[in-house]
């Protein structure tokens, strides 16, 4: 019973981290039809910016709780600065082109941003572990969990609900949904599609940066942090269905629980567990769990 409980807790905490990042990835694909290879770089930028902001807050002797606000601000700043630069300055020139070309463009962005982070922050690691201790510990049997992990679960739920509400219950969200359905028809109805693209891309980048910012206290922020997260995020959105918010949530939970089950029962199959789940889903649902089969436009 204890093992089952531990598997569930570990699976859900891992899934919450993954969901925040994967949600941004799936949103950008849903609206802009871009499989954003550089998504991990925005995650890394969020982590680096959080390291700088939290360090700055500490140097100002502000209350430790303010570090959470500093991390949130870091994600906002990354989205506000980098998203318009990359979307207006680069991506918009490739809209309407082959999706494979856009994958290559975002791969180039990934390589450029890797070097940009090194130019700005150098190669030495940054540590911002202070927020990790803000929520205390939780003891259950032989296990001790850090409260921060559960705070991340709450953050993921809030972020997921906000994005769902924003898309389905607001006028702006309905416009975004219209663009997702058909950019051409939306444009003919007077929707400023370029603006919607930039908005959606900014929200996607904000979510990636938010994931990075709130992961920063658990890791050493250094070159290379962008690589691991993007691969497993792709697995999540492929399982859930590219462009689906519900799919990202369920996909993250499936990956988190599958991985947790493997680590606790057959550690050698940890990596395999994620991709076997993905393969099984693709066999029965090639479009992913929450993606409707779509007729090809001619």
């Amino acid at each position: 019973m204890n093992t089952v409980f531990t598997i569930l807790v570990d699976g859900v905490t891992y899934a919450s981290w993954l969901f925040i990042v994967a949600l941004g990835l799936t949103l950008v694909f849903g609206v802009l039809k871009i499989l954003n290879i550089a998504h991990g770089s925005f995650y890394a930028l969020g982590a680096y910016a959080a390291a700088s902001f939290v360090g700055w807050a500490a140097s100002m002797h502000w209350a430790p709780a303010f570090s959470l606000v500093a991390m949130l601000l870091a994600a906002v700043v990354v989205a506000a600065v980098v998203a318009p630069l990359t979307e207006r300055g680069l991506l918009r020139f490739f809209y309407g082109r082959d999706e494979v070309l856009l994958v290559l463009v975002t791969y180039a962005m990934f390589l450029i941003l890797e070097d940009v982070t090194k130019l700005v922050w150098g190669t030495n690691p940054y540590y911002v572990s202070e927020p990790y201790g803000l929520f205390g510990n939780l003891n259950v049997g032989v296990q001790t969990w850090v409260g921060y992990d559960f705070a991340l679960v709450a953050l993921a739920v809030i972020v997921g609900l906000l994005v769902w509400w924003g898309l389905n219950r607001t006028r702006q969200g309905k416009i975004v949904l219209a663009v997702i359905h058909s950019a051409e028809v939306a444009a003919s109805m007077g929707v400023n599609v370029s603006r919607v693209y930039m908005l959606a891309f900014s929200v996607g980048i904000f979510l990636a940066a938010l994931g990075g910012a709130f992961t920063a206290p658990m890791i050493s922020v250094q070159p290379g942090v962008s690589v691991g997260v993007i691969i497993v995020s792709f697995a999540v959105v492929i399982i859930g269905g590219l462009g689906s918010i519900e799919g990202a949530a369920v996909g993250a939970l499936i990956v988190g629980l599958a991985r947790s089950l493997a680590v606790h029962t057959a550690p050698v199959a940890e990596l395999f567990s994620i991709y076997i789940v993905m393969a099984v889903v693709l066999v029965f649902r090639p479009e992913g769990l929450f993606q409707r089969t779509q007729a090809r436009k001619i």
Binding site: D10, Y14, V142, S220, G228, V229, P267
Partner: protein
């Protein structure tokens, strides 16, 4: 008038041509007089291994090459450059996988025309590039990677490794535990799922079987390289409590593991032993749990022996970068010191001319030299694989110094923790370390 002008133009033209030709010849003779030794240095300049290994090693190479070129290193390394040849270093990023590295190595030899290459942290990269250098008959020093298989499974002529292989690290770790009476009736492990982690796990397990025959292995976690998130693995380690928890994690993975496992109390419930962890101490500071037993893959950094050469090297690196040198720059430096002596020995036997790959290989084979970490001896792999002393210590944060220090440092002679030339590492450990000498 026209003829006069034309004649004057011809004279000026001829004079200009002469001047250009003379300048070109001067340049050519100057270039010949300033013949250099072109050295390819390959390490991680980007990616996850850059911060802990690649950049510090390259930084170490830069200050040492600079000191060599100024003739500022202490004797017997005080000749300018390599035997009077100024060293021209070409730095290449190791990131990108083994296939890319083979291509980059070929480029270094064929396009850059380097005289030698020193490089490679990744065991997979070393396994890939060694046959390529051998096929091209070009001189290659592997300075860092740990897998024992390179010289145990192959007989190579042009390839050398100037640092001990990974078996030493885990044999020394278990010997340290035994010497300090560390209780180890049960042990858990967490190692990365690739050549380094798998080899480390095997060597530690086999050593435990010999020195702690009653110890039982528990959790055997194998996260992927660069996982970053270890919450689930930590839960698994805590769910099966053990006296000792072993790991060969390194770099960002090791830092993330410590930052996540520390607050959860893992280090208080089990004696954690790391085989290669000295490089995270300067960065982690007080976040590094006290009482952790660790090695550095040699007597490096805070465990380096007292010597004039080590003092010089420590100061050189510390003043340049504001941090003391850890294992990666130490291993780079011991390779460059060995290469320097080999080049100079080969030049002496070659009438003072720059040696070719065969002459370099003959000069380094079976060689021994002093390094900041002690004596390096090319004793294994038919004179191509080094052995060296190592050390293990225990962490303590010193609040006064505001840094992690290492207590209870125990040194192990090379012959105690490395197999003899006649045996493979695995066979040697399984046989109970026959011929081990000088063990404390």
């Amino acid at each position: 008038m026209n003829q006069q002008n034309s004649g004057a133009r011809h004279i000026r033209h001829a004079a200009a041509l002469y001047a250009v030709a003379a300048a070109a010849m001067l340049c050519a003779s100057g270039a010949k007089a300033q013949e250099t030794f072109k050295l390819g240095i390959v390490s991680f300049l980007s990616g996850q291994a850059a911060e802990s290994f690649g950049i510090p090693a390259v930084n170490g190479a830069k200050v040492l090459v600079d000191a060599f070129n100024k003739g500022a290193a202490p004797a017997p390394y005080n000749k300018v450059g390599f035997g009077g040849l100024k060293i021209e270093a070409v730095y290449v990023d190791e990131n990108g996988g083994a296939t890319k590295q083979v291509q980059e190595l070929r480029n270094l030899y064929d396009r850059e025309n380097v005289d030698a290459v020193v490089g490679y942290v990744g065991s997979g990269d070393c396994l890939a590039v060694a046959p390529a250098a051998e096929e091209m008959k070009k001189f290659l020093i592997l300075y860092d990677c740990g897998t024992p298989r390179i010289f145990e499974d192959n007989k190579l002529q042009y390839v050398f490794r100037t640092a001990s292989h990974a078996a030493m690290d885990n044999v020394a770790l278990v010997r340290y535990m035994k010497a300090r009476n560390i209780k180890a009736e049960t042990f858990n492990m967490i190692n990365q799922d690739y050549a380094w982690g798998q080899d480390s796990k095997k060597d530690f397990t086999l050593s435990m079987e010999k020195l702690y025959p009653n110890a039982k292995a528990g959790e055997d976690q194998l996260p992927k390289f660069g996982a970053g998130q270890y919450g689930t693995e930590i839960s698994a380690l805590m769910a099966k409590p053990a006296d000792v928890t072993h790991s060969s994690l390194w770099g960002g993975d090791l830092q993330a593991f410590i930052l996540q496992a520390g607050p959860r109390g893992l280090f208080k419930r089990t004696q954690v032993v790391f085989s290669a962890a000295d490089h995270v101490l300067p960065g982690l500071g007080e976040k590094m749990p006290d009482g952790t037993i660790l090695g550095a893959r040699g007597a490096y950094g805070l465990m380096s022996p007292k010597s004039a050469l080590n003092d010089w090297w420590w100061d050189l690196y510390s003043k340049a970068y504001g941090v003391y040198p850890v294992q990666a720059p130490y291993r780079m430096v011991q390779s460059l010191l060995g290469l320097k002596l080999a080049v100079e020995k080969a030049m002496a036997a070659n009438g003072g001319k720059k040696p070719n790959a065969e002459q370099l290989a003959a000069a380094l084979k079976g060689q021994e030299w002093d390094s900041p970490a002690g004596k390096i001896r090319m004793a294994l792999g038919d004179g191509h694989q080094a052995i060296q002393d190592t050390a293990i210590g225990k962490t303590r944060f010193d609040a006064a110094k505001k840094m992690v220090v290492l207590d209870d440092i125990q040194r192990f002679p090379a012959e105690c923790v490395n197999p003899p030339a006649t045996m493979k590492a695995e066979e040697w450990i399984k046989a109970g370390f026959p011929g081990a000498k000088g063990c404390p």
